[in-house]
């Protein structure tokens, strides 16, 4: 498929616009000199990826991504930033001095993945049925064929919850414990 034929499809304009925004926000995440800005750029990236999911007619996953990332994960990360880095401002020391080697490595990785997937899927066209994946199908899969992974993931979340509380909890010093006992 030539580029001229590709660019005439309106859905590809949408892809280009959303993809560019997503990539730009992704660069923002790794290049921002302010921690809060980096976290907010991740919101843009996740929003872009959710929009791409909508283009791929994966509605439920798109909204789940928005809910979980924008609604929960970013808030959690901002929370962590506030605890560990207040006051927040521009800080040039957020990244190390070694930039060239990571950049080369990342570019090489990108080139490798791109080259190998062009070899494998270069001509594969997506068939757009124009119909979103039914959410009831996803729900059915989660409790029938994937019920064991579903339960395991539930346990992982429970373990993460308990572990997070246990790790981040501050133990009382003996003096504090004594004071608490006295009250």
């Amino acid at each position: 498929m030539t580029f001229e034929a590709w660019i005439t499809q309106p859905v590809n304009w949408a892809f280009l616009a959303i993809g560019l925004v997503t990539l730009a926000s992704g660069f923002g995440v790794v290049a921002a000199r302010n921690v809060v800005h980096a976290a907010l750029f991740l919101v843009g990236t996740m929003g872009g990826i959710a929009a791409l999911f909508l283009l791929l007619s994966a509605e439920f996953v798109a909204w789940a991504l928005v809910l979980i990332y924008v609604g929960a994960v970013i808030i959690l990360l901002l929370f962590g930033i506030m605890i560990t880095r207040a006051p927040t401002g521009i800080d040039p020391a957020l990244s190390g001095e070694q930039r060239v080697l990571p950049a080369i490595l990342a570019l090489a990785l990108f080139g490798l993945i791109t080259w190998s997937s062009f070899e494998a899927f270069g001509a594969s066209e997506l068939s757009l049925v124009g119909e979103a994946t039914a959410t009831d199908l996803l729900g059915e899969m989660l409790v029938t064929r994937f019920v064991i992974p579903f339960e395991v993931v539930g346990f992982v979340l429970l373990g993460a919850l308990v572990g997070g509380i246990t790790i981040a909890r501050r133990d009382l010093t003996p003096l504090e414990e004594e004071q608490r006992g006295a009250v």
Binding site: L23, V30, T84, L109, F121, L126, T133, A160, G163
Partner: protein, 101 residues
């Protein structure tokens, strides 16, 4: 629409995540880069689901699993970062040299 455009975008996001993981010093920002990489993988899963069009929506189910595990990972990761910060008054990866001689 071809599948390759999504795969290339996913690869670019993943590479950006790798770059951030290697360049950043702050532990919270390293976690952010890991989130970026996981999101790139999700994009690939959903794109290939769209290509294969399985009757069971396998790619999307796995994307949901990845999102869930990423949420658990960030919770635990932040708890560890907060604990490290409390013990060492620093959240920079290159200052954690306790295990190095």
């Amino acid at each position: 629409m071809t599948v390759i455009q999504y795969v290339v975008l996913g690869a670019a996001l993943f590479a950006i995540g790798v770059y951030g993981l290697l360049v950043r010093r702050n532990l919270v920002l390293i976690l952010l880069s890991v989130e970026l990489m996981l999101a790139a993988v999700n994009l690939n899963l959903v794109a290939f689901e769209s290509l294969l069009a399985t009757s069971e929506a396998l790619g999307q189910v796995f994307a949901i699993f990845v999102i869930t595990v990423a949420a658990a990972e960030v919770g635990i990761g932040l708890a560890i970062v907060i604990m490290i910060f409390r013990n060492r008054q620093s959240a920079n990866a290159d200052e954690l040299t306790l295990m190095r001689w």
